[in-house]
Amino acid sequence: MSNIPAELKYVSSHEWIRLEGDGTVTIGITEHAQDQLGDVVFVELPEVGTTFSLSDDLGVVESVKAASDLYAPLSGEVVEVNPELEDSPELVNSDPYGDGWFVKLKLEDESELDGLLSAEGYAEVCESEE
């Protein structure tokens, strides 16, 4: 069973969301997701200032094995992207919940947070995929 930190929120498309408490969230992909993808070799991220609606394509993660879309788990504006991923995409594999984060969004509608999964709920999603 892969690591699913209890303090994070999740969506069934395998992104994790950390609530920063100031109206922004940090987004990445889960350990399970990076394990399924294998070695990540490129990450394509949006520009700061771009706005996204729930489920929009936020970027692309290319691994040796496959290309995978990254979905916006919440609506909002990109306020920061992880600058390290351009040269060190392997951080997504080595530290998916830490240095391998993707973007920070300024939330547009905090009520969307109600639609996110808890760690427990996400664990069930992973199990059902096994």
């Binding site: 070799v41 490129f42 394509e44 692309v60 290319e62 040796v64 094995k65 496959a66 290309a67 594999n93």
Partner: protein, 367 residues
Amino acid sequence: MGQKTALYQQHIDMGGKLVDFGGWNMPLHYGSQKEEHLQVRATAGMFDVSHMTVVDVKGSDARDYLRYLLANDVERLKTTGKALYTAMLNEDAGVIDDLIVYAMGTPGSSGEWYRLVVNCGTRQKDLDWMDKHAGRFEVALSERPEMALIAIQGPQAIDKVRTVLNDSQRSSLQDLSVFQGAPAGEWFLARTGYTGEDGLEIMLPETEAVQFWQDLAAAGVTPCGLGARDTLRLEAGMNLYGSDMDETVSPLAANMGWTIAWEPQERQFIGRQALETQRQQGVQEKLVGLVLAGRGVLRGHQKVIVEGVGEGEVTSGSFAPTLGHSVALARVPVATGDRAEVDLRGKRVEVSVIKPCFVRQGKKVFA
């Protein structure tokens, strides 16, 4: 539940991520495909390829039979253990499979016989085809499922293997030239591979495979999965059956023209007539290498656009760990020059077109 090689438990114990591969439970990687790939280029890696099918061909007509069955000519094999890469074609010159033949026994004597290693995904149709055409020949075909097959590849592969062999096996390695094999008791050691590096492919009784695998690991040979095997062969510009060619593709459009033995002209082999017609009329397509210098990854089935010429298709593509960017094999119109575009998930990117070979012996081989 798929089939298991003799090394199945080893793969699990060593942390392999097992996947279904042509009905077999095989390791895709043991943690990082990229790291395994780079280990092979820098030192040595080992691959369990026991899922591949080994067929021995014996009998007084063995040579005549194979000269009819295969597009390359086993007559070229003059010494014991010598290897030949060849296509097995259908009547229309489509590729049924690509395979390696080793000359066994004493070539040219009544004791000669041959060993074929064919793809696992094509096993049944290969065997059926071989049986079908064996009729008028005095031959006996026997599959050798009790043999394990381990490939050890990389600049340090042979040195590391040498440290774990017994004296008789070690002496078989002495003066072994490239594309040459040698028997050692029940074992067969061949200096062949599918990575573009020096190395060996060793056939041995499966009862001895676990010990050998563990000895190799203790000698510092990295276990590698089929993922790395695929990116290594792609960088080396080696075809993968089912992706880069199949029964609908001529070897002349799959960079396999060099494997066809046209001479002697009187040798009749299956597909020869169709091939000669194709050669006279001119083949419309060719297999080339594509290099994407920037970001993004070329993948199989992406469309290739050649301005003013036409369109083609990526047959295999991936990120190339040795190079740090993506490369691909693609089938394109023969008039294609040195530039093309690929439709990368809806976005057109420019690629350079080169001969299909990217890395050999750890080094980039294109400008």
